[in-house]
Structure formats: C-alpha cells, structure tokens
C-alpha cells in the first residue's frame, strides 16, 4: 500500500509540479564516481587564483534561469550551495529544454538550460550570439520488467532500435535470445514505453538510436519529441519508471537515477568497441573524455556511441545557454561567477546525485567560454 502510494506520488509529480525541489532525492547513487574527479580538481587547482569563495562587489543578487528538467536535481543543489557561498540567489524553473530555449530567445531569463543543443534555426531566432556551456553529464538506461531474467538483459544498439521500431515484438525473438539465453521461453509481447512529453532524455536516446541504426535515422530521427512507431507514452522519467514497474514485460528508457531508485532491471549495452557495459557514471565520463578531442568550437556536441572500451554509449551533456554579449553588467558578473563555480567547485556534488562530473578537457573549454562572456566588449568575469 505504501509502495503504491509512493508510486502514486512519483507519477503525480511531473504533472502537478515541475518544481525542481520535488525531484527525487537520490539515495542509492552508484558509488564509483571518483576516478575522473581527481583530474578535474587538479585542473582547478592549477587555475589557483580563480576560486569563488564569497560575494563580489557590484554583482547582481539574483539570477533567473529556466529550462531542462534532466539536470534540475543537480542545479537545485548547486544553486542552494552557491547562495551559501556568495549570497546570490538563483531561481531555476525546470520547465523543459524547449521552454529554456524560448526563454533565452525572448530574453525573459538570464540563462537557459537545455539537454539538446540549440539548432541553427533556433540560434538564428536568438537576439545575438549564444554560448553553449556543458555543465554536467547524464546516462540514459534501458529499464525493463521481465521476471524471468535472472541476470541483466544484454542489448545491442541493433536490438534496442529493433524493439523501439516495433520490429522485435516478443521477448524470445531470436535476436534477443542470441545474447540472452534466459529469454528463450519468454514468449510475451514486449510493451514499449516511451516519453509522452517532449524531453531531453528522449533527445539523447533517439540521438543514440539514430547513431546506431540507419532504419531509425531515416524513419524516426532524433528530437525531444518524435513520432514513436510503437508503444505507450508516459509522462516524465517517473512516469516511465512507474509504467515499467507496473506492467510485466515492459521496457523503457530513463535517467540512471530513476532506475536505481525504483530497483528496476537495467540492461547492459554493447558499446562501439564491442564490450558489454553496465551503465555507470564512469562509463559516462569516459564517453565525454573520448569525444573531448573532437568537440567542435561551439561545444554543441553529441557524445552518444563514443569509441572506447569503458564507454557507456547512451550518454549526454546538458548545457546552460547564455548570451555572449550581456547588457547588464551586474548580472553578467554574477552569471559568469556562477558558471565558473558550477563547472569547478560544483562538480563535486554530481556523483551523489547520479550525474557524471565533466572531464578535465571539457572544463578547460568551458573556462574559455565563460571568459568570453562580456558587456559591450569587455569581459565580465572578474577572475575571483
């Protein structure tokens, strides 16, 4: 009964409220997050002088942001901590990436947040040049409800695309049984669950499917909302987790934290190097690190299906988007300091909340972007 109630509430949450403070508090985040963290912190140590540890004269006392729900838990934590350090209050509304982009275009917010990079069309609709600053990394996992499966189900890019295209209809399809002997006698229909609302999680997931399957790329493509060829729609990560938990033989995709919290089965995925990988934050940071060399100048990059033995292939950046040329000096100072703090000191909060810290190379690129934010051509970041 209690459990049902918890499920009730968790399903209710995305509907009645998008307030980030309602987002689930992680209790069982994977413990292994420290490996790349070490190198990140040395990098901020080499920056030495640049540490944000108190208020700065002449900066704005409030900042307003809106956008992505995917990083909302981490952002809420950041902004709470940041207010303690600098007494700058940051209001963040997790209204969705689309809303964040629109908010920035209309300049109704000081910064936007998005899980999918802005398209060229969207950039043109903005008032002036927009910077994409990667803030953190997340993993999207395939979660399922198959009582017969004793060990984690193993899926390849091809089988995942097959299931979500509706080509693989039953759990004992030969393609699935080839990697999962456990499923040999499970002659049940696969119930596919996808997001009904537009979402950055869907963007990253369909981005991955487009990367691994030509059929997916041509028939469905990638986007925050797509034309799903099969399956049920559920609202929010909570909605999918709830639906998968409730429906036997269902499969869906959620952010890592929602699968671990609901104690649902999580599939191992075969990466580009041909290795089976259990989703983990290390695997995500590995994806970002593998892509770091090839990141384009504007940092709008997808890191799905990266090469490397340890890479978990369904990973994504999430970005904060800001105007390069700010109009209000006080706000610009506050904003650049916030971004600097979040990409450096803030990174240590990510592991506990099941986000992967940015690899060193990306933090370096973020630093350059933050320093390039200016007011009337003068850089806004005060350097402390």
């Amino acid at each position: 009964m209690l459990r049902q109630f918890v499920l009730f509430v968790s399903l209710l949450m995305p509907i009645v409220s998008c307030s980030p403070s309602d987002a689930p508090k992680p209790t069982s985040a994977p413990a292994t997050t420290s490996v790349p963290q070490a190198s990140t912190s040395t990098s901020s140590a080499t920056q030495g002088a640049v540490v944000i540890n108190g208020p700065f004269a002449g900066e704005a006392k409030t900042l307003n942001g809106a956008g992505a729900t995917f990083p909302a838990v981490l952002y809420t934590k950041w902004f709470n901590e940041y207010e303690k350090v600098t007494s700058v209050k940051v209001n963040y509304q997790s209204i969705g990436s689309g809303g964040g982009i629109k908010g920035l275009q209309d300049a109704t917010v000081d910064f936007g947040a998005t899980d999918g990079p802005m398209t060229d069309e969207q950039l043109q609709a903005a008032k002036s040049a927009v910077l994409h600053i990667p803030m953190t990394l997340g993993a999207i996992v395939l979660t399922y409800n198959v009582p017969e499966a004793k060990s984690p189900i193993q899926l390849t890019g091809e089988t995942i695309a097959g299931i979500f295209l509706g080509d693989i209809k039953k759990w004992n399809d030969a393609k699935l049984v080839a990697d999962n002997p456990d499923l040999k006698n499970v002659g049940k229909d696969i119930v596919v669950v996808h997001r009904s609302d537009g979402s950055g999680t869907s963007f990253a997931f369909t981005d991955y499917l487009s990367a691994v399957s030509d059929a997916w790329k041509s028939k469905v493509g990638k986007g925050t909302s797509v034309n799903w060829p099969t399956g049920l729609g559920a609202k929010g990560n909570e909605g999918i987790a709830g639906e998968v938990k409730q429906s036997p033989y269902a499969i869906g995709y959620v952010e890592l934290i929602y699968a671990t919290q609901n104690k649902l089965g999580v599939a191992d995925v075969k990466n580009k190097a041909g290795k089976w990988v259990t989703p983990s934050l290390d695997g995500v940071t590995a994806s970002a690190a593998a892509m770091a060399e090839r990141v384009p100048e504007d940092l709008r990059v997808s890191i799905v299906n990266a090469a490397g033995d340890k890479v978990y292939p369904i990973s994504t950046f999430t970005w904060i988007i800001v105007y390069q040329n700010q109009t209000d000096k006080a706000k610009a100072i506050a904003l650049t300091r916030l971004l600097w703090w979040a990409t450096h000191d803030g990174q240590k909060f990510s592991g506990n909340l099941a986000y992967a810290p940015l690899p060193d190379a990306i933090v370096k690129k973020d630093e350059a972007k933050i320093m390039s934010i200016g007011v009337n051509g003068t850089p806004a970041f005060p350097g402390k």
């Binding site: 049902q4 499920l7 009730f8 399903l11 209710l12 509907i15 009645v16 209204i95 969705g96 990436s97 689309g98 809303g99 982009i101 629109k102 398209t119 069309e121 969207q122 609709a125 229909d189 119930v191 009904s196 609302d197 537009g198 979402s199 469905v220 493509g221 990638k222 986007g223 925050t224 909302s225 797509v226 034309n227 799903w228 060829p229 099969t230 399956g231 049920l232 729609g233 559920a234 609202k235 409730q246 429906s247």
Partner: protein, 333 residues
C-alpha cells in the same frame, strides 16, 4: 461659514424630488451599463481566445491546410503534422464514455425520482454531487492503479473471449490487452461525466408535473408504463441536454485520460484495446517542449481543432434538441 451651512439645507428643501429622480436615473443607468459591460466579458474572452489561437496557429494552417485534419502522421522531427489520430481518439473515447454513462445515469435518475423513498433521495443525490467534485487527477490515479490492472487482468480478456468469435464485432477487441487503451480511458471518462448527467437528469425528471403521473396511474397504468409513456417523453429534451453537457466535459478532459490512454498516435484502429491519444492530452504532453516554430504552431492548431470539435458537437446537440422538442412539450433546463 453661514453660507456653507446654508447651501446643503437649501438643496434639501428646494430640490428634494428632482434630486432623487436624478439619483435614481444615474444608479439605474449605471447599473445597466455595468451589466452590459459584464455581459461583454465572456464574448470578448471568446473572441480573444479564438483570435490568439488563429494568430499562433497561422503558420501550421497555411502550411498544412486541410491535411492537418486528415493526415495521421504526427512527426515533430520531419515536421509532418496530422491530427487525425488525436481527433479520432477524442471522439472515440467520448462516445464510449457516453454509451457507458448514459444508461447508468438514466437508470439511477429514474430510481431517485420515481422509486426511491423520500429519506433516501437527498442523501443519495448529495453523494452523487460529491462525485462531481473529485478532481480529475484523482480519477486518473484511480484509473491507473485500480481500474487498469483489473481491466487488463480480467475484464478485457473476458471481453476478448466473448466478442472475438463474432464476425464484425471482433474488430473491437483485436490486439493484446496492455492496460492502456481507449476502453479504459472511455470508462474513466464515463465515471467522470456520470454525476453531471445524473444530477441534471434527476432535476429534469423531478420537473415532470405530478398531475401527469397521477393521470396515468388513475387510468390503471403500472409504474413502468407511466415512465415509458409520460415521464420519459416529457423529460427527453432535458435528458439529451444532460448528455450533451456530459459529452462536452468528456471531450475536453485532459489529465485523467492522459494517464490511462497510452499516449500513442501510431495507429488509428477501431479496437477498444488500442493505446491512443486525445487532442487535449497531446496538447498537455507536448506543449512545453515544442521548440520549433511550426511544431508550436501545430499544437496551437490542435487547440483550435478541439474548440471546433466541441463546437460541432454542441451545434449538433442543439439541433437534435430542437427536433426532439417538437414532440410533447417537456421540462427543459
């Protein structure tokens, strides 16, 4: 000082009657002006809403034209927008709701007005009105956690076994029973519109003059004959109006339906067991992340289509009532 005191007294003594009349005149015309203005508010709202919808939907209207209503492909990635699955889902679930709710509501209303002992009427009627006060999200949650598992586990397989062998009807029960489909959405809607129909139908039945019933009974008619020949014909327009109000609520209902209908626009099928989508759920689900201009515009056009569907239903209903009312003069609301 003395002048100041004198002038009001002057007014009262000399100008008493004309002043009162003038006051009445301003109060009267002022009140008339206020109510006129208030009457314009709903009209202005309606015009404002339609104008805003038209303005924001213009991009999609121009690009897709009538295809928007007929195409069944809703693809934000490739910018193909056809609302047919949503329109179908909206009308289909609302009709299921009406078909399920109307007999129950009518039966219960007849019991309350014709058979129930006086001490039972008011408490029962009160309970029914309470049903109408339950927020739709609660119905949705109940549907999701109580109704859907029961339907999936026992009712739908039973229906399938019963109806599958019958030729044409078998199309209604095709496909696997997943527990997110038109039927469950329709039943949730039926429960939600039941109190609306029931309480109005009850009021209408009670408005049938007692003399009509007494006349019938004195001719030796049984209670059933009385209902059949006097009460129902007399109340018919009112009952129709009640159903229409219920239907209107079903068409626009969003949250409860979204939670049990499956939110899938991949196919249009007459099977009750297909996961579907309604216009209102599509708007609620997709509005926030509609980041392309034409996508946003298409969703606004969906709102316009919903308004159109509701309006069509309303007009049809009014025509129907006008037709039926030509029969025996009846109680109306």
């Amino acid at each position: 000082m003395s002048q100041l005191q004198a002038s009001p007294r002057n007014l009262i003594t000399h100008g008493h009657r004309p002043r009162l009349r003038a006051r009445q005149f301003t109060l009267d015309s002022g009140f008339e002006f206020v109510v006129r203005a208030l009457a314009l508010v709903p009209l202005a709202l309606m015009i404002g809403i339609v104008a805003l919808l038209l303005l924001n939907a213009s991009l999609a209207i121009v690009r897709y034209g009538f295809h928007f209503l007929l195409d069944s492909m809703w693809d934000p990635v490739f910018e193909q927008f056809g609302a047919a699955p949503f329109i179908f889902g909206t009308v289909f679930t609302s009709l299921i709701a009406l078909i399920v709710a109307l007999p129950i509501a009518l039966g219960a209303a007849l019991f309350l007005s014709e058979y129930a002992p006086a001490w039972l009427r008011e408490p029962l009627a009160f309970m029914i009105e309470l049903l109408a006060a339950i927020p739709s999200i609660i119905y949705g949650l109940w549907g999701l956690f109580v109704l859907a598992p029961i339907m999936r586990g026992s009712v739908e397989p039973l229906l399938k076994n019963l109806l599958a062998p019958i030729p044409v009807v078998s199309a209604l029960v095709e496909g696997p029973t997943i527990g997110r489909d038109f039927l469950i959405a329709g039943i949730i809607l039926a429960i939600m519109i039941l109190p609306t129909i029931l309480s109005i139908a009850r009021a209408v039945l009670q408005a049938v003059p007692q003399a009509q019933r007494e006349g019938m009974l004195s001719l030796g008619a049984t209670p059933w004959e009385t209902i059949q020949h006097v009460v129902l014909p007399y109340a018919r327009p009112g009952i129709l109006a009640a159903s229409l109000l219920g239907l209107a609520r079903a068409l626009g209902e969003t949250m409860a339906v979204t939670m049990v209908i499956g939110n899938s626009s991949s196919k249009i099928s007459p099977s009750l067991f297909t996961p579907g989508y309604t216009i209102a759920s599509a708007i609620a689900n997709q509005f926030t992340e509609a980041d392309k201009a034409v996508y946003f515009s298409a969703i606004v056009e969906l709102a316009l289509v919903l308004l159109l569907v509701a309006m069509t239903m309303n007009v049809l209903a009014r025509l129907l009532i006008a037709r039926v009312s030509r029969g025996p003069k009846g109680a109306r609301l």
